[in-house]
Symmetry: C2
Subunit: 254 residues, 2 copies
């Protein structure tokens, strides 16, 4: 495999009791996943862990060793249950320090809204020693970048701002392209056709996503590849095979 | 710790490229998490992995060894990318067989909608040898139960039906109780109060969940415990400390 073919991967650790209790519906997995696709980086695994030091350390170490990049969401706020910085510092074997620039950002932010920079708020300037900051235009409290590790907020629209700040800064491979073919048929009717199309197009993967809508059964078939030519050929072959078998297709999905 | 105090835990493996690509927003984590709470079982970790044999095997083995129960969602349909049954059988070191009762269910179902039980559809009757079935009233294709391992559908409303069929059948501990206090204040203003309340109530955990709504900053504080008395005492102490510090609280959350 040449350098240009390298598949860049990322792991994501979602940190927070609120996700594991079902109280909060995670929105960051989909958000980070979609953003990574555009950067040419594949999300290889997600782990959701509670606000417990050893569990965060374990997940961070497992996923940073297995992937080119690691992202975390959650646990970087000002309260006692926000222990992501401490856990990542422990995983890396470095100290936790107050980042002078983060402190200055927080001072400016709280001054602008006429509030004190309390001890609790100053927690949000703590970083693993040697880390850089990821700007956050929403609330003054920055995200944290330590080599290929990125610590981001749990609140989805703040995470979005941090991803925006990182856009284009990470090395990635060819972005994964995808095309969707929709079909008002149970996927089980066309399983053989899907299997054959994937077999015939080595650089493509086909996912089958069934749904029930308006009282009818259908499926979207998503063809993914980093190779535009093979992707287009696979889409054409699959559409034609489905049509020949008597199933009308909807380009772009249903 | 006496037997009655045992904390029962579960791991969840969410299987599917569509979640890791960001195409599909997962709804099963929150659904399974909430359901487990009611069964007195704590969701200890979630892993999201792609439709790749070794990755599923690895996650299944890690989480089943670490927890009392394991659940999976996704990858039990009729198409080529549905390999959960094969992966779990490999993790368990058993063969994959066609379950006669599952086969009969599928035969009845497809006959009822005037369709053939094709080879592809018959895939949905395959189970790790020795497994039992979890009924699925939606589509005929059952979930699979093998000891403390439960393989469920990826489509959320089918998963819901399978969870419903399992309700009350699993041994669990005292259900985790929770109360929520809402406050229109930045969480950073009250971090010390939260920390103190948690310290004073050993059987309680307090989570702080900030939000921005209607242009204002607030937070919900969720107090969790299996001990009703300590929970009520903590809620009373926290509410009173917040009110004393000048922050109006909303019982039940905002």
């Amino acid at each position: 495999m040449s350098e240009g073919d390298k598949i860049w991967t990322a792991g994501l650790v979602v940190i927070g009791d609120e996700i594991l209790s079902g109280r909060t519906h995670d929105k960051n997995i989909a958000q980070v996943a979609s953003w990574l696709q555009v950067q040419g980086i594949r999300l290889a695994e997600v782990r959701v862990v509670p606000d417990v030091m050893e569990r965060i350390v374990e997940a961070v170490n497992a996923l940073r060793e297995a992937n080119d990049y690691l992202f975390t969401t959650g646990g970087i706020g000002p309260t006692h249950d926000d222990i992501t910085v401490d856990a990542v510092a422990r995983a890396l074997g470095v100290e936790v320090v107050v980042h002078p620039e983060a402190r200055a950002m927080l001072e400016r932010y709280y001054k602008s809204i006429d509030k004190e920079l309390t001890e609790a708020r100053l927690r949000m300037a703590r970083v693993p020693e040697g880390a850089d900051l990821i700007p956050n235009r929403m609330s003054g409290a920055p995200g944290i970048k330590f080599g290929n590790i990125h610590l981001m907020a749990g609140v989805p629209h703040i995470t979005a701002g941090m991803l925006d700040a990182l856009t284009g800064t990470l090395e990635g491979g060819a972005p994964l392209l995808s095309e969707t073919i929709g079909c008002w048929t149970p996927e089980s009717e066309v399983a053989d056709i899907l299997r054959q199309a994937e077999k015939d197009h080595l650089h493509c993967q086909i996912g089958s996503y069934p749904f029930f809508r308006e009282g009818r059964v259908g499926a979207n078939f998503v063809i993914r590849s980093t190779d535009r030519e093979d992707l287009d050929a696979c889409v054409a072959a699959l559409s034609s095979a489905l049509e020949s078998a008597g199933f009308a297709t909807t380009s772009g999905g249903i």
